[in-house]
Structure formats: C-alpha cells, structure tokens
C-alpha cells in the first residue's frame, strides 16, 4: 500500500478549469473520501490518480515517487467506475479474475488459488451465486457489485473507487458500505473514494476532502466536517436535514452584538462568538450582514420561554422520523429545521402554533454567504 499525494494539481479542459491547485495526501492505509456535488471535479481527480487523465500542472506522487507520466497499467492501482465497465462477453467469474491474470502483476496464480480469491471476494460482497452468469443477465446493482469485486480482488498500491455503490438500492447500499469499511480495516488499504452522498463519506472515511467547483472547500475528519463546517457550502451539503442557514443583520447595541434575521428572530450573540460573527460580516445594502449556521439538533423547542435569548416562530409543518420529529419553521428565504426527541414529540405542536426556540450557542457558526439559499 502506498501514500498518495497531490501537490497543486490543476486540470484544464481547453481553458475551462476542472480542478484548481488541489493539494492533499492520503496516507498509507487511510480511507479518504472526496465528496462534493456533481461537477465539482471529484472524478477528474480520481482519473488523474489512475493515469487515465493527464495532469495539466502540479505533481502526483505514490510513496514520494512522481507518477505524472506513468501510464495507468504501471501505477498499480485498482479502480471501480460508477459505470461498471464490465467485459460483456466474460462471465462474472472471469470479470472478477481478470486483474489476477494481468501479466503486468506477474501473479501467476494456480487455478485453485485464483478460484479461491475470486470466490472469497464474491462471497464477501454477496454475489457468489452470480459467478457463472454473463453481465447482460445482471441487474444494475449486481453489475455494480461485480465491478467492485473486480477492483477489490487484487492488492494494489491504492484502490480508487468512484461512486462504487451509488446504484444499489438503499438497504443493499448500507450493508455494502459496512462491508467496505470492514474490508478497509482488514487489509489496511489505501482507499480514495469518490461520492456525492455525504452519508457514505461520513461513515466510511478516516478523512474527507470536500470539493466545490474544482477547489477544496474543507479537509478533515468526518467529525470535524459535520460538527464544524468551514463554510456555508459544507454545512448545506451535509446532514439530513442539512445545517440550518439563516441570513441576518449584525447590530451592535450598548457594546453587545445582536444577530437579527427578522422582527421575531433576533438573538444576542455570546461574547466568545462575537469574533467569528465579525469575521463573517459583509456589507449589503447599507447594513452589515452575516449568515448563521446551526444544526437542527442544537435548537431547543418549548412551549415556554427558555431564556432571554428565546424567540417565537409559528410552526410551518412537522415531519417525522422513526424516533424523533423535525419541526419546520418558514423564514424569509429558507426553512429552519428543529429536531425534537421522543416518539410523541410531533404531537406537541399544532400547525401555526407559536413555539419558543432557543439556539445552543456552543454549536453556533457564522459564515460569509457563498451559497444561494433560495435556489432549489
């Protein structure tokens, strides 16, 4: 297994920048996810690592060896594509065995040993009953697992996996996700994993890179990305419901700082948060504004006033979760979601009833606005 490193890597298509000066490293044995919306440049990075796409500028190294000019077959990586790329005239068994037979790796396995390895990975991914079939007789989800098995059957320097479970149905996706995590732990593999699904990235990764329009927005452990999003973009991308983002005005009164979203939503900002509020301040239409971010589990809801900083809003709608509810409030250009615990939580508030809200300032963030909230 290798350490994989990118230094100031840029990819241009014509004069369009797909990836701009991206640097990060995936340590030996680390599971690193590249997360981001469609078009962020995730797959382009993976293809450059695999050697399928050329780097326009910058450096890619495997264990400190520059691989920029090495063709794919000399990089010793295994790749699974979102589009499966199975050999249609090969049976599933031969598709999976293919990388074991490549002369480049000189494995020269005996028939029994080859069969043992193919069956092992097929059993692990629950596709051992498909080994004698042709790809055309498989469902999309089955094809995807065959493609994943083909990537995992060999022990290369690094695994490059591009949305390898995106086409599985929900139940199978979660169970395969757990298997991937088990695989990574068992073989201490270096894995670089591309996904647009934040839940996969959080669950699987040791570290994550969040990409936006070809640029790294945040890099860190999943806990950091979830608990302390660096920007409003990261907050809006991760969580269900995603982080609440509220635009408001900054008002200073008698030395105290207030954040005011509208008449009914106005709170005094605790001293230790004022600095981050000021950092996020922007000028707009003659006033100083910022964007507040808080996750739905960090807002308390009550029938009574909870503190001097509580405020009242009318309930817009209530949706349920298995053992909790999400009470929704309508703001000017967005919704505010609040999670309440307990099975009967959703019975507690009527439609349009005014509820008291109290934000937990330990989990309060301020951002410059870089995401258009109204667009959906």
């Amino acid at each position: 297994m290798a350490e994989v490193k990118l230094e100031n890597v840029t990819k241009l298509y014509g004069n369009k920048v797909a990836v701009r000066e991206v640097s990060f490293s995936c340590r030996e044995g680390e599971f690193l996810s590249i997360a981001g919306p469609t078009g962020a440049g995730k797959s382009t990075i993976l293809k450059m690592l695999a050697g399928i796409e050329k780097v326009s500028s910058g450096k890619i190294t495997f264990n400190d060896r520059v691989v920029n000019d090495l063709p794919p077959q000399e990089r010793n990586v295994s790749m699974a594509f979102e589009t499966y790329n199975l050999y249609p005239h090969f049976k599933v068994y031969d598709n999976i065995a293919f990388p074991l037979r490549a002369p480049r790796w000189g494995l020269k396995l005996s028939h029994q040993e080859e069969r043992r390895r193919v069956e092992e990975i097929a059993r692990f991914l629950g596709i051992d009953e498909l080994l004698d079939r042709l790809p055309q007789h498989l469902s999309g989800g089955q094809k995807q697992r065959v493609s994943l098995a083909r990537a995992l059957v060999r022990r290369p320097e690094a695994y490059l996996l591009d949305e390898p479970i995106a086409h599985l149905d929900a139940r199978l996706k979660f169970s395969t996700q757990t298997l991937l995590k088990e695989f990574a732990a068992n073989f201490k593999s270096t894995i670089i994993y591309v996904t647009h699904d934040y839940r996969e990235a959080l669950a699987l990764s040791d570290r994550m890179v969040v990409l936006r329009k070809g640029v790294i927005e945040q890099e860190g452990k999943p806990e950091e990305i979830y608990n302390r999003p660096a920007t409003d973009f990261v907050g809006s991308l991760i969580g269900e419901p995603p982080m609440n983002l509220v635009d408001g005005e900054i008002i200073t009164r008698n030395g105290a700082a207030w954040f005011k979203a509208h008449e009914d939503f106005s709170i005094q900002i605790r001293d230790d948060k004022v600095e981050s509020l000021k950092k996020a301040a922007q000028q707009a239409g003659g006033s100083t504004v910022a964007r507040l971010g808080i996750r739905c589990e960090h807002i308390r809801l009550s029938h009574q006033k909870l503190s001097d900083n509580s405020f009242q809003l009318p309930v817009y709608a209530i949706v349920h979760e298995a053992e909790s509810s999400v009470v929704t409030f309508e703001l000017k250009n967005s919704f505010l979601y609040v999670r309440t615990r307990g099975e009967k939580g959703h019975r507690d508030y009527g439609l349009s009833e005014k509820a008291w809200l109290d934000l937990d300032q330990d989990h309060l963030f301020f951002y410059r606005s870089t995401v258009d909230l109204s667009k959906m």
Partner: protein
C-alpha cells in the same frame, strides 16, 4: 375531499396470468395522509393506478365517499397526480402550466388569475410564474407540478415518489411543503414510495404492500412497535431490525446462548405457553439496543465492537456477539459517546422493546400504549 375505500381489489394481468394485486382491502380516511410503502414490483404502483383510474380493476371495488368509481375515468374521479418525473409542458410558462387544468374547464380569466396566484403563494412560486419550466431547478419544477395538481381542489391527491430522487436539501424542504399543503388544504393524500423514511416522515398511516398483498396498515407507531410479520419488521427502519436466535426460558424471558454464560433477557407482554422452551428469533431495533461498557447483572449480551460508521449526530456500531452463531448486531448510539474498535461491550434491550418471532410470525402480544 374524500374517503377512499379499496375493497377486495385484484389486479390480474392477462398476459401470463400475473397477479399484480391480490384481494387488497384498506381505507384512506377523509383528510388522511396515507403512504403505500413497499419494494418495487410488490404491487404498490398497480394499486395507485387503479385508484387513479389509469388501470382497470380486475375484481373488487374502489369507492370514493361510499360511491363506487370503478367505471369512472381519471378525469371524472377528480384526482390530482404528481409523479417523480414532473411532466410539465415545456413550451408553456409556469403560470400556464399551473392554469392548465382550469383552462380545460373554461374558467374566466379573473378566476384563473386568482386561483393560480393563491396556489403560487402557498408554494412560493410567484416570482417564477413567467419563466419556462426548463429554466428552473428540479425542486422548483416539482413544486410547479404540485401546484398544477392541487389547483382544482381534487377529491384525492396521489403522489408517486415525488421527491425521493432529489438531494437532501431539496428533500427536506419539499417534505415540509407537501405536509403543510396537505394540512392547509385539508387534502386526502395517498403517497406511494419504496423509501420507508419518506413514508414515516410524511404520513399519518402506512399501508405496506409486498408480493401483491397487504402486509400491514397502521400508524407509524404501530408499525414501528408492533410489526405484523417479519417482513414488515425488517423493511421499516434503517438500519434494519436485528434478528438473533434465542430460546424461550419462560413466559417472560428469552435466553441467548453465549458459550459458558447464558444471557437471559426479560420481556414484557403475553406469550403462549406452548412456545416456552422453543427456539425463536429475537428482534431488536438498532435504535433500541443499549450499549454498556461494563456487564449489567444478567440481562445483557457480551460482544465486541467490529465497525463504527459515523453518521453525524449518530454513529452506527456493528457489534459481534459472543453467542453461538457469532451474530452481528447493529446499534445506533449518540456520536458524542466514543467507542473504539474491538472494545468489549454489553448489550441490553428494554423488556418492552423486544420482539419475538416464530419464523415469520410475531408471537409476543403487547397492549399498545
């Protein structure tokens, strides 16, 4: 708005004599939000299409407010439909798309204007009324499609997977909007989905259909706490309910064989004496499995942490039990509580959270709270 009764309905496709829906009976009450939930190919779309009048009913009756509607076409049933694909008229403006069902009825211009404006207000579409649908994002287009569906005060609203393919941000918003619209307009809504989280989020009651048959109909609480069979128990909930083998020690306790020690879990509820001593399947939801770092008297099962999957507020643990089958069990814990790989833990489940099955059938009866 209407009450909908589906009474002993069958859908038999003549080609190959395939039974799409088998003797289906359920009611969607007036102003109720009912989900039809099930895996694909289970019969839920055939059901929806029969209610909508898009598909002939092979046998049985469908009634709106007590009146049989079998012979009525979709238009005469006055049904609002919204699908996963928005099916908007791309050459018409958003306004004209929403107004379309009214134009067909020959309403006056002022009436049309007034109705479109009022529904556009509810769905926040006023600023885009003059735009073309193609220029809007997916979530926006679905809102236009909903506005068009709701504008003519339908008897019944049928929604077929309207939001499952959207990203989580849009999904959260549309869920809230759809629930609000339902409550505000006093609609009777039937919502078809394969996504159990979607059904739980929006609906008052859920009808679960699999293999052409109704498996259970009930409130979210009933389905969550008293699943009618093992299919329902496993289908609803994420991660899925854990199933482990045990032996009934008495009418109040079940034992898990863990080598030298035997873990005996007490449970509340009624069980037939004939099962005492029998091997059964214990069911426990991952959200209801409690984890302890130290052994607790007897009512716990030893194991060790195998995999941890961080999910934000929660983490899903996969725990390898020290039972005979080396079963794997999932538990959902608060992420603030930190565990490490291979750490020994003890599991317990509250007596009123244990489910027991004899093969597919639940055998523990419990009064609903």
């Amino acid at each position: 708005m209407s009450r909908v009764d589906v009474s002993h309905c069958w859908k038999i496709y003549p080609r190959g004599n395939v039974v799409g829906v088998k003797d289906l009976t359920f009611t969607c009450n007036d102003k109720e939000f009912l989900a039809i939930l099930g895996p694909s190919g289970g019969g839920k779309s055939s059901t929806l299409r029969m209610v909508a009048g898009l598909e002939e009913i092979s046998r049985g009756e469908i009634l709106f407010d007590g009146e049989v509607v079998n012979h009525l076409g979709p238009a005469e049933r006055n049904i609002a439909l919204a699908f996963e694909s928005y099916a908007l008229y791309q050459r018409l403006s958003v306004f004209e798309n929403i107004a379309f069902p009214l134009r067909a009825r020959g309403l006056s211009k002022t009436e049309v204007d007034q109705k479109v404006t009022s529904i556009a207000e509810l769905l926040d579409l006023k600023s885009v009324l003059n735009k073309s649908p193609a220029s809007l994002a997916g979530g926006h287009q679905q809102r236009v499609s909903l506005a068009r569906a709701f504008i003519r005060k339908p008897n019944v609203t049928l929604l077929d997977e309207p939001i499952s393919h959207m990203d989580q941000r849009v999904r959260a918003e549309l869920r809230a909007r759809i629930r609000r619209l339902h409550d505000d307009l006093g609609l009777t809504t039937i919502y078809v989905t394969h996504d159990q989280a979607e059904a739980i989020s929006l609906c008052d009651r859920i009808a679960i259909i699999n293999r052409a048959e109704l498996q259970q109909i009930g409130t979210v609480e009933e389905i969550w706490n008293q699943p009618a069979n093992r299919f329902v128990a496993a289908f609803v909930g994420e991660p899925a309910m854990n199933f482990i083998t045990g032996r009934l020690e008495s009418r109040q306790s079940v034992a898990i064989d863990a080598g030298e020690i035997k873990s005996v879990l007490p449970f509340t509820g009624e069980i037939d004496t004939k099962y005492v001593g029998a091997e059964v399947t214990i069911g426990a939801r991952p959200q209801q499995v409690k984890i302890s770092r130290t052994p607790l008297e007897q009512a716990c099962v030893p194991g060790s942490i195998k995999i941890m999957e961080f999910q934000g507020e929660f983490t899903v643990l996969t725990i390898k039990l020290k039972d005979r089958d080396a079963s794997e069990v999932k538990a959902v814990v608060q992420s603030a509580e930190k565990y490490s790989s291979n750490e020994p833990v003890w599991l317990h489940v509250n007596p009123d959270r244990i489910h027991l099955f004899d093969k597919e059938t639940p055998i523990l009866r419990r009064k609903s709270k």
